[in-house]
Amino acid sequence: MTTDIRTLRTSGEEAFAQAAEARLAAEPTQGRIGELRRAAASAFAEHGLPTRRVEEWKYTDLRAAVREAPPLAGEVTASAEAEAGLRAIAFPGTERVLFVNGAYGRGASHLGRLPAGVSAVPLAAALASGSPLLDRIGGLAPQRYDAALALNTAMLREGLVIHVSAGARVETPIHIAHVFTADAPLSTFTRMLVVVEEGAQVAFIESHQGPDGIAYQANAATEFYVGDGAHVDLIRVQEEGDRALHLATLVVDMGRDVAFHAFQLATGAATARLSLYGRFSGSGSHAGIRGVNLLAARQHGDVTMVLDHAVPHCESRELFKTVLKDESHGVFQGKIIVRPDAQKTDGRMMSQSLLLGEFAQMDNKPELEIFADDVQCGHGATAGALDDDLLFYLLSRGIPRPDAEVLLVQAFVGEAVEYVEQEDLREALMARIVERLGKAG
């Protein structure tokens, strides 16, 4: 028998560990996935939630943020689904799949209508029928224990398995909309597995929304397998309610000659964390990962990523823009690993922040772990207030200060939004940014 040296568990940790055990007992899965879930549950039971002494969570005290474990969400009701359908962001020209309080919204999603070359199955159905794609789930686990991902894996039930066939040119972006509608706190766990075959081209939008005032917890994990020569765009929009906890994990494996572009707009949640693990496993690939974080009041927003250049001739570009009002706290941690074989790696990481609130704070931690000699890697971080001279120029033309500030903030974040290739999505994102800036004024 092992003795637990971490005697001081939070009730949240305790409750989640029990919930994971209970779900494993109630829904035991066989074979590899069953083992995966059991391993994740016992890893969580052993390591629990990270404190700030855990390097990857240095600036985000997850243990403190998860004092409570809200109950797991139950079945989706028709009325919740209808409400979610109304609330979900409508991106014109996209096909939408709806998740309501963490569960697949059958009535509002039309998987049969997905564009040619794309097929999707709810995870629960895939688990029941034993889809061969599931062999890939959990296959990209990060090197170190990740509490959010471990819990997500232990709870595996709700989600979506998406397959894009080789060579498919999918014009219509697929929007996976997560809407929280409950009026009491719940915990949700969703998992996406996306397999994009060779040479396919596809864009996904993943959105997360919920009401203010409710301390719900959303744990969303997505695994991407991007096949050789494929081109994948991912746009995440995180607009959770102001008391929510949003824990997102994004794991990406890139084959040869891949173009992978991710963009996150994060404006919601009391505490939000995006952990991104990207791995280049084929040469000649390019990853562009950008984001805009708009934080106000006492919001805490953390973006942490590890890009693992395991093979030569790959390129990674990261640009994150954080706008901090009031007493908000932003975090950017970015690590680029260049393995001994990964010659000719070209990696650039940049985090820029605008500190608008007197008590706002930004923590940046860039890291380079380079084991090859012929590489180009760089990182940078800037933090500052709005430029007084620019502001004065706008004011002097009669633009009131709040509007002038919005224009300048828009210009600041626009440099990251620019990278979204689809013009209509770019405009839709900018419109949400402007609306948010006006609201939090």
């Binding site: 620019l390 004065f392 002097s396 009669g398 633009i399 224009l407 828009q410 210009a411």
Partner: protein, 269 residues
């Protein structure tokens, strides 16, 4: 109440004595950090007039324009400045603009990421709103900008760029005049708008400025060169020296300064 000490015209029933005065600056002192730059400046501009200010480098001309426009780097320690009787110094810069003050900057800055068109439209609508007027319609706005921009030789491509981004020195100055033509201020302050302009651009800009001359508008033109004043003929020329207006005269004064410089004012130049 002492009837002899009425500071403002008492309204419709009152005497029309002061209605012509647009800008009235009295004993203005301003400093930056601990250094006093404006040292008791007096200046009065009536509606319909064009005044030029000339003066050696560092005499405080740009400082005066910034103080009037409301740049908060400067601290006004004494004196008053009113626009149509309203206390300018109490107003925020955007309120001054809405009240009709416009400064064409000596060094216009670039604002990457804020498109010229967005900027112009936001400014125009903000001023209209502040004055209780309706927003301009999109077609009217586009027509207005197109007309004014082509008068000033500013291309549509330049209008699509960020404000002043990648503009040459002279293009930036023309863009200032474009903004002025669209915003139609009642008091135009031009801080060395002529510097950096080629000969043709100078004429174009002068035409733009002259087109705005009106009995209801006043202009304060800061320049180092008589050349501009051949095109924009001033009613009054002032000499500024060490933070004060030390001499005022007719347009001949500019010619005199061109010939003899500022040596007579004790400047070592």
């Amino acid at each position: 109440m002492d009837p002899s000490r009425v500071d403002f015209p008492p309204g419709p029933a009152g005497a029309p004595m002061d209605t012509m005065t647009m800008l009235d600056i009295r004993n203005l002192h301003a400093r930056i950090d601990d250094r006093e730059i404006l040292k008791g400046l007096d200046l009065t501009l009536n509606a319909g007039e064009v005044h030029a200010i000339m003066g050696p480098n560092g005499s405080g001309k740009s400082t005066l324009s910034y103080v009037l426009a409301g740049k908060d780097d400067y601290e006004v320690t004494e004196g008053t400045a009113t626009l149509d009787g309203e206390d300018l110094l109490e107003m925020e810069p955007d309120a001054r603009a809405a009240a009709g003050l416009f400064l064409a900057f000596q060094y216009p800055i670039e604002i990457p990421g804020v498109a010229n068109m967005t900027f112009l439209r936001t400014a125009l609508n903000a001023q209209r709103k502040a004055r209780g007027e309706a927003e301009i319609s999109t077609p009217d706005f586009l027509r207005l900008v197109k007309e004014k921009a082509s008068d000033l030789g500013i291309s549509q491509e330049m209008l699509r760029r960020g404000v002043n981004v990648g503009f040459s020195g002279g293009e930036k100055k023309r863009n200032e005049i474009l903004q002025m033509s669209i915003l139609e201020p009642k008091l135009c302050i031009l801080d060395e708008t002529d510097s950096g302009l080629d000969i043709d651009a100078l004429k174009i800009v002068a035409q733009g400025v002259n087109a705005l001359r009106s009995p209801k508008r006043a202009m304060l033109v800061i320049t180092h060169y008589q050349r501009l004043l051949d095109h924009i003929v001033p009613d009054v020329v002032h000499v500024m020296h060490q933070g004060r207006i030390v001499r005022s005269g007719g347009k001949e004064l500019a010619l005199e300064l061109e010939a003899s410089g500022y040596a007579a004012y004790g400047d070592a130049a």
